[in-house]
Every structure is written in C-alpha cells, then in structure tokens.
C-alpha cells in the first residue's frame, strides 16, 4: 500500500467516522443505526488487505471514541479485529468476487454487534443481547444499502492492487 493510498484511506475513514458520529448516529430505524464507518472500513480492507484493515480499524475507532467522548480503545479494539479479518478474506478467498463486499458487510455487521456486546459484557457494563439481536436485521439491511455506493467510491479512489502483490495463502484450483 503506497503512501498516497494510505492518505486517501485515512481521509476516507476520517470523513466516514465524523459522518457516523454526527449524522448517521441519529438515523435510527427499528433500533438500528446505519454504520457508514463499518462499510467504509470493509471496503478499504477488501481493497488493501488485512494490514490496512487493522490499522484503519484502529484509527477509525480512535476517531469515533474521541469524537463521541466514549471509552477510548473500545471501538478501536472491535474495528481492528473486524478490519483485519475482512482484509484476510479479501486477500484470500474474497478477491475478485462481486458479492464479497456485500457478504463481508453482512457478516461483519453481525460480528461487530456481538463483538461490542462481548466487550461491554466483559467490562461489566450494560450488554442487552436482546436489543442487539432485534436490531441485527435492520442494521444489515441498511448497511447493505450503503455497501454498493460506498464500495464503488472507495474502489474508485483506491484502485485494486495487482493480484500478485496480494498474498495467496488460500488458492482456488480450476
């Protein structure tokens, strides 16, 4: 990942984090909130790999926790793991597949929700599993709506890297 790409990804995640905290946080539908930041992180991780996903997740989490005056590190922890995991998926089986962004967003929305639930539970804070489960379907639906345009925009700014530059620990035959 070049320095220019890193700068672009940083700006993208910054804008997404600010928009998430200031705008999208209010758009609550059936108890769920569309997560522009998560969708943007998924797009960056798919296009630039696990390292960019993990670093981007950490950075974006810090921004969100700072802007919302939340517990510093909480969002970073979950987004770092999410970004890394999606990056690995992109580097291996997910590359070049049209459905990869949508599948990733759907899965990561679920994992992100339960990841936050686990962290809050471990910290001894309120962890309403029922509310998380109830809000999953609308959250996935709203995030999937965002996925198409966001992925297209991120792909336009961060052009896919050469296949050979990506790792290939899982090779498909045929």
């Amino acid at each position: 990942m070049s320095l220019l790409d890193g700068g672009k990804a940083a700006v993208l995640l910054f804008v997404a984090a600010i928009a998430q905290v200031s705008i999208f946080g209010q758009a609550r539908v059936l108890g769920a909130v569309p997560d522009l930041l998560l969708v943007t992180l998924v797009a960056v991780a798919l296009l630039r790999g696990s390292l960019a996903g993990a670093v981007g997740g950490f950075y974006a989490g810090l921004l969100v926790d700072s802007a919302s005056l939340g517990e510093l590190g909480l969002t970073s922890l979950v987004l770092t793991v999410s970004g890394y995991w999606i990056g690995r998926y992109g580097e291996t089986t997910g590359r070049d597949r049209a459905h990869a962004p949508f599948l990733s967003v759907a899965v990561v929305t679920v994992l992100y929700g339960f990841g936050l639930l686990v962290v809050h539970f471990v910290l001894g804070e309120s962890a309403p599993a029922g509310a998380v489960v109830r809000s999953l379907a609308p959250a996935i639906a709203m995030n999937l709506v965002l996925t198409g345009p966001v992925y297209a925009l991120v792909r336009r700014l961060l052009r896919p890297e050469n296949r050979d530059e990506l790792s290939a620990e899982v090779q498909l035959l045929g």
């Binding site: 998430q20 696990s50 922890l77 809050h120 620990e169």
Partner: protein
C-alpha cells in the same frame, strides 16, 4: 515432442510471504494490545488523567468537523422532516405540539408548586440548608454525538467545565429531564441519558404524591420502581423529579423537573412492587440541543 524438454512454468514463490505474514501478525497484536491498553486506562480513570485530557483535546479538535458535517446534513434532514411532516399534517401537528408543550410546562410548573406548597412548611428547614439546590442557571448546549446503538445511552454536548458544568449536573430538554453529566472536559461533556442502565432518578407522582425511582426497563423504556402495591398510581399521571427531601442527602436533581407520564400500571403476585411504565416527555432519541442546570449556589 515428448522428448523435448518442456519449460516448466515458473512458480510464484511469494518470497516475502512468510515475512509479510509475520509483520501482519505483529502489527495486529500491537494494535489489539494498544486498544486494550487504552481501554484499560480509560475504564480505570474515566474522569481524570492524561488520557482523559488528551481525549478532551482530540474531541475539541474534531468538533469543527462534526459541526460542519451536521451543517452539511442539515438541508437533507430538513427535507426529510418536511416530507415526513407533510404526510402527518405537519403544520397542525407542529402547532399542537408547541401548544401542548407550553401547556404541559405550565401545568407541570403549577402543579409542582401546588403539590409542594403543602409540604413547604415541613421542608422549609431543608430548603434553607446549604446543600439544597435552590438556584440553577441554564447552560444551553448543542448535542454533538448521539447514542450509536443499544450499548450507548450517552450523548456528547459542546459545553464543559469552562461553562460551569460538573459531574452530575442535571440536563434537560425543552420537554423534560434528559439525564445528568457523567464526564466533563474543558469544552465538552458526556451526558448519560435516563435510559442508561446506571441511571436512577427519584421521582414523584404529582397526581397521587407517590414516590418512586425512575430507572431503565426493557428495550430502553423507563419504569417507576420501588412503588408499593398498596398505593395508587394511575395511567396518565405526571411524574417530576422529587428533589432533595433531606439536606443531609442532597439529590442530584432539583425538585419539579418534568420526567414523563405513566403509560401503564401492572400488578403481579410474584413482584414486590407495582410495575409502572413511564413515557418520558423528552425525546431521548432525537436531541439537538439541551440545557444543563448549573447550580448557582452551593452546588
């Protein structure tokens, strides 16, 4: 042909694969440990310390971007509100809502005073105590971040210690009680909403005089807890903050702030108390601006 040597395709050895995998795992480990360290420090000292100060500075730095984002989004929100309003007879609804809000405020204030007058004599010595929250001034503030999910029942506002806010300062909207300040930075503060699991407010039923404890219920609802089965609470009763009843144990909230109305009352044989559901006056899911009630005396 069979005998001829065939150039074997050069396999891609991924010479840097092992190294890059190692780097990747090291970076992931460092980031996760970094996040855990931040989380630990933040959790152990949520209201003070270098990290707390750094977060406050970072939040101040990010605020202009947040305000800009909110301004950019404002026309879209207004357009949405307009369309939404057309569908529900916006003008009439808006007018009636303002009217109801005004009358409710008047009624609550009058009833609070009336209900209080009977006890004024008894409470006089408490009210004259040094810690009794007699006078408050309103510090208006814009909401800069909103609860982003079922875990977070907090909002951030753009007023902080510089404007006199302290931890436990009550926060209200134009409709009623919103919550209290639970973390203060120099130019911003965190407000924990009534619907938070750790939020408890002593409340009083203006219609029956019954006292109880407002806390969160299932699905971000509010309930009036600790109300004995023997007493009467009716649907539609108005609830206000109970305030300080004993100067030795000052309440966080002054008397008479409207909280909400009783939306249902239930009795179960197995439960020790009445099950009273409360509909808050303040729309906690859509707050744009709030006022913090800063004590001007003795606070």
């Amino acid at each position: 042909m069979l005998a001829s040597s065939v150039q074997r395709s050069k396999s891609n050895p991924y010479p840097s694969k092992a190294r890059s995998a190692l780097v990747r795992r090291i970076v992931l480990t460092v980031l996760v440990l970094g996040a855990l360290t931040l989380l630990t420090i933040s959790f152990r000292s949520p209201t003070s310390g270098a990290l707390h100060d750094a977060q406050g500075i970072a939040a101040s730095g990010l605020r202009p971007f947040q305000i800009a984002a909110a301004r950019v989004a404002r026309p879209f929100r207004d357009a949405y509100d307009y369309v939404d309003g057309l569908a529900s007879a916006k003008s009439q609804n808006e007018k009636l809502r303002r009217e109801v809000s005004r009358l409710r405020a008047q009624a609550s204030a009058s009833e609070a005073l009336a209900a209080r007058s009977a006890e004024l004599e008894k409470l006089l010595k408490y009210e004259q105590g040094k810690t009794y929250p007699k006078d408050y001034r309103a510090v208006n503030a814009a909401v800069t971040s909103f609860p982003a999910g079922p875990f977070t029942q907090q909002i951030a506002i753009d007023a902080g210690a510089d404007r006199g806010l302290r931890i436990n300062t009550p926060v209200v909207s134009g409709d009623g009680l919103v919550g209290r300040v639970t973390n203060v930075y120099s130019h911003s503060a965190v407000v924990t909403l009534l619907t938070d699991a750790n939020s408890y407010v002593s409340a009083r039923d203006l219609d029956t005089g019954v006292r109880g404890l407002i806390r969160h219920g299932q699905g971000n609802t509010l309930i009036l807890d600790q109300v004995a089965k023997q007493v009467v609470v009716n649907k539609g009763d108005q609830l206000v903050t109970d305030g300080t009843r004993d100067a030795r144990y000052p309440d966080l909230y002054p008397y008479g702030i409207p909280i909400g109305t009783v939306s249902s009352v239930g009795i179960q044989d197995t439960a020790s108390f009445l099950q009273v559901q409360v509909e808050p006056y303040a729309n906690l899911g859509s707050l744009d601006s709030v006022a913090a009630l800063v004590a001007t005396k003795g606070g």
